[in-house]
């Protein structure tokens, strides 16, 4: 049987939907609480490096981490790219940059959108500041995006 033998093959839309509610635990819970309160948090790793977002364990040693620290409010772009045509579920629906944003006081950057207006404004090393969502619930979306500072 080849595909040519079958004539018109039937197809149908198929939607999968997952309404997950995830438990955060105390570390991620603290980070998301911080976002709701417009406070950025990191955590001290085994070598004293500050990790953002905070993790429960040191990524190199596996040691349990407990010392949360406030970071930001501003930060630096460690690397970036420019999305010319946003996809439907992207956080911004006009051209924007993704960047690894490293908040002041942190040693690690995390993935965030930057609403720079045009790619000419973007540069590795540029300073950015957070734009907080008007309504915040304790999710990553409380950080609407970052802007050139």
């Amino acid at each position: 049987m080849t595909s040519q033998d079958s004539g018109e093959v039937l197809s149908a839309p198929l939607v999968i939907e997952y309404p997950f509610t995830r438990t955060t635990g105390p570390v991620i819970g603290a980070f998301l609480t911080g976002l709701r309160e417009r406070v950025l948090l990191g955590i001290k790793g085994s070598q004293g490096q500050v990790l953002v977002p905070p993790t429960e364990y040191d990524p190199a040693t596996g040691e349990e981490l407990t010392e949360l620290v406030e970071v930001g409010p501003g930060g630096v772009v460690d690397t970036w790219c420019w999305v010319r045509t946003p996809m439907p579920k992207h956080p911004l629906q006009h051209p924007f940059a993704w960047a690894l944003v490293r908040p002041d006081g942190a040693d690690v950057g995390f993935l965030q959108p930057v609403d720079a207006g045009s790619p000419e404004v973007m540069a590795t090393g540029m300073r950015v500041r957070p734009r907080w969502a008007d309504e915040r619930e304790g999710t990553i979306h409380d950080l609407e995006c970052w802007e050139p500072a």
Binding site: V9, L14, I16, Y18, A30, T33, L41, T66, V69
Partner: protein, 174 residues
């Protein structure tokens, strides 16, 4: 786990303990050649099985005989009447259910098929449903036949004496 000390800015604030992360993905599912043949048959009011050379008759076929690992290349039209080989009475409501509780779903070995098909059993009190019961398909109105198993509304007892031994299809032995 060690207690996490909150920084001063968060002391006294209600802590986030869980977060909603909904995800919705939209696909276009291709039925494939074999399922298309089956559903096309249903849309014509026919129940079509398939088999590979020397293999069992599968209804519906997905294109492969799982015992032989060969394409099912022959079509076999099977009866709309069959024998109930197993069943289950559903008493618990669940998200998305369409039927009134309790209801019976069953495995029906259609005459000519080697594997049973799953469908609803209706027009029979749940306490009277039994293995070996002879049932027949009840279709929607012919004008509403479509490429979906919902073209068959359910199976109901047809009054024939129960089969005490369930036979596989012609030419095949276990």
């Amino acid at each position: 786990m060690t207690e996490i000390e909150l920084p001063p800015a968060l002391v006294g604030k209600e802590l986030v303990r869980s977060v909603r992360t909904p995800a919705r993905l939209e696909y276009t599912y291709t039925a494939g050649a074999a399922t298309t043949r089956f559903l096309t048959g249903i849309a014509q009011g026919r129940i079509l099985g398939e088999r590979a050379p020397g293999g069992k008759v599968y209804v519906p076929s997905r294109g492969a005989d799982p015992q032989l690992g060969l394409p099912t290349s022959e079509q076999v039209e099977v009866s709309h009447t069959g024998t109930l080989t197993s069943f289950c009475v559903v008493n618990v409501a669940f998200y998305g259910q369409g039927m009134e509780i309790p209801y019976t779903s069953g495995l029906i070995l259609l005459d000519g098929s080697d594997l049973p098909i799953m469908h609803l059993i209706q027009e029979c009190p749940v306490e009277d449903v039994r293995i070996g019961m002879r049932v027949e398909a009840v279709w929607v109105d012919e004008s509403e036949y479509g490429p979906t198993l919902e073209s068959i509304r359910y199976f109901r007892p047809n009054g024939e004496p129960d089969r005490t031994v369930v036979q596989p299809g012609a030419g095949v032995t276990w």
